[in-house]
Structures are given as C-alpha cells and as structure tokens.
Symmetry: C5
C-alpha cells in the first residue's frame, strides 16, 4: 500500500453511474519522514477519511475489495487511517 | 485514478473486434496545478468525454468495470469528468 | 494503453506450452511526436501487426482479454494498429 | 517479487473491517548488494516476519493469494523470508 | 513481458506453503543491446531456466497463469527462454 496524506477532493458530476455518492480524495504520497512527494493519486474513500489525515491507499484490483468499491471502475481506495509509524531501525 | 486532460483521439481501423465503436482518447497526465506532464495514456471513453476536458482515468483490471469496457482488452478508461479540484490544505 | 512501434520479434523455442504459435513482438514506446523512447515491452500479437507498424498495447490482466491470449501467462498484447493520431489541441 | 527489508510497522485503528488483526509492515526496497533504496511499500505480513528481516513482497492481485489476505483490500504481502541470495554470475 | 537475464537464486526456507519447491530466480532487466539495467525482479521459474539465460518475465496476475504458479502469491514468472532477438529496423 502507499502511504499518503489527503489534501483535497475531486468534484465530478458526470461519472460512471456506480460512483454516485463515492468520495474522490486527492492523496499526496508521503516519504517515511511524512514529507509530501510530488506524486499523487485520486482514491475513493472507504473508511470515512478527511482532509489532512494520513492514510494507506490500496491500488489495482485490490482497490475493489471493499463493500464501497466492489465491481466499480476505481483503481485506488483509502482503506486505512494511519495513527503512527513505528520504525525502530530508522528512528534516529 | 490518474488526473488528466483529453488532447485528442487515436484512429485505429484494425483492432480487436470487441473494440468496434469504442472511442480511444489521448489523455495527458496533469499535476495538481492543472499543468500537463510529459506522460500520457490512451484510454477508452465511458462517459462521453471530449477534447480539452479534465478527467479521471482508471487503469488495470478496474478499467474493465464499466458496461462499455467489460471483458475487453483495454487497461485504461475515462470514468469521470472533473468539475473542479477542492484543495483547502494546498490552496495558497 | 501504451502507444508504441513494433521494431522486431523475440524468438523463444522453450516457453509455456500455451504460447506455441504466439508471435512475441518487441514494441518500443512512442511519445506524441512519434519519437521512440528508451523503454520497450515484449507483447503478444492479436491483430496481425508487423515490423514498423504503430500500435496500441494493453497490459496486465487486460492483455488476456483477446481470444489469442485468454488464460495465458502474458501481460502485454498488441490489440490495435494505429492509423493516425488526431490531436487538435496540441497540433501546432 | 520485490526484495526488501522490514524496518517498522504501521499502526492504524480505523481501517477496513477485514484487516483487523493484520500486521502492516513497512518494507524498504533493497538492491542486490542489500543496500536500502529510497522506495518503500506497506505490506501485510503472511509469514511471521519481523523488524530487520529480509523478505520478498508480492504485489497486485497476487498479494491476495494467501489465506491471510484473501479477498481483502491489500495490494502487497510479505510471502517469503529470505535466507540468502545466491548470485554466481555477479558475485565478484 | 520484461526481457531479462537470470543472475542467481533466492533462498527462502520460510515462505507461503504453496511455494514449496518453487525456484525463485533473480532476473536483471536487459535493454535491447542485451546490456543489464539496474532494475531486477524475483520471479518463479516455470520453464526450467537457469543462471545466465536470457528470458521473458510476465508480471501481475498473468504470472499466475502457469500450472506451476496457479493460485499462488507470486507476481512474476519466467515463462519463456529467449533464443534471439530479431530486430530488422534497429539492427545497424
């Protein structure tokens, strides 16, 4: 999964019918020091995540393994909200 | 999903039979300031999108989850037309 | 899909049994000015494409959605031969 | 599969229900000299791997082919712990 | 598929049960002049390939379409041994 931070939302009125009601989140990728990288992905929310939260994003067919995304044309889903990283080997 | 802008169309007479009638769009990837990147993808249209429009593209097996692309050899589909990006945390 | 140009063929006598008779094409990736990039992929032909032709390549599980590639261990298929690109917004 | 080293764990209380009890490992990618690269992935553990161990990570739909990850929204799984690399052709 | 050269083997005693007996090959990616690139992948052997051989590697779900890899958590398989590349357009 990708580590990322939610920085906003995509508004899209015209979209695949199955996506009505889905929240399309803009997620910037983070490095292990929680600094934002240039790359980002648009992902469907499945856990009630919001702006500013650190999350995990699953991509590809795995993005369709939640009740919210099943059988839908989405290739990225926010499936966890991160409390913290525990990195003993690189903590210093 | 990838954020992109439709800049044109691919004409292909000889193609997999299942793709007859499918519109093959050239989509340039955008950054969050709506500037075009170098990279692009050819994607099938599933929402009636046209030249100049900002869209989302789903890739991989997820690209086959629309009625238009089901069971077809396509790995990218335009599945939403973007109205706007709402980015409160990076808006300034 | 990837835009590419067929520049040759891979000969492989010892391969998965299901691939007997499949043509393994070397496809160099193209940019929108039809210039070749460094990157290339080996793809199975499903449309009778040959050396020098401009084509589209579908990758991943979508590469197995043709009658020629179904259930085979291939992750890239040539599924269309390009006649031309129509790019009104970037034509100048 | 990706060669990597486990350097820590992600804590996430709020996540897809199916992931309760799953261990989310932070895996840094390694080169063939066992030096860490910048890139990393968050992967679910399926073999009892822990901090500091060298592992293999399977990604995409293949990440769901273990009993622990089946049908879950995860796109990376640690499925082997590496004892050693045997590289006769590049050993010097 | 990726063009690569087998340079060694990964030893892993503790791994997903389904992988017992599978040979885990280290495959360095090649360019079209058969020069090794930096990037490599660990792939399961399905054709009896060995050190020093030039091969094709299929990735993603396609890697599970051989009798040896079916339903296993592997995302890369060696599915062909290359005899030669035939590149008329770039041969000079």
């Amino acid at each position: 999964m990708i580590l990322g931070k939610i920085i906003g939302t995509v508004w899209a009125t015209r979209k695949d019918d199955s996506l009505t009601g889905s929240k399309l989140l803009i997620v910037k990728q983070l490095d292990l020091k929680m600094q934002e990288k240039e790359s980002f992905v648009v992902a469907v929310d499945s856990v009630g995540a919001g702006d500013g939260e650190i999350v995990l994003v699953a991509t590809g067919s795995s993005a369709r393994q939640t009740t919210i995304t099943k059988n839908k044309p989405v290739d990225a889903v926010v499936m966890a909200i991160v409390d913290k990283l525990d990195i003993p080997y690189h903590g210093n």
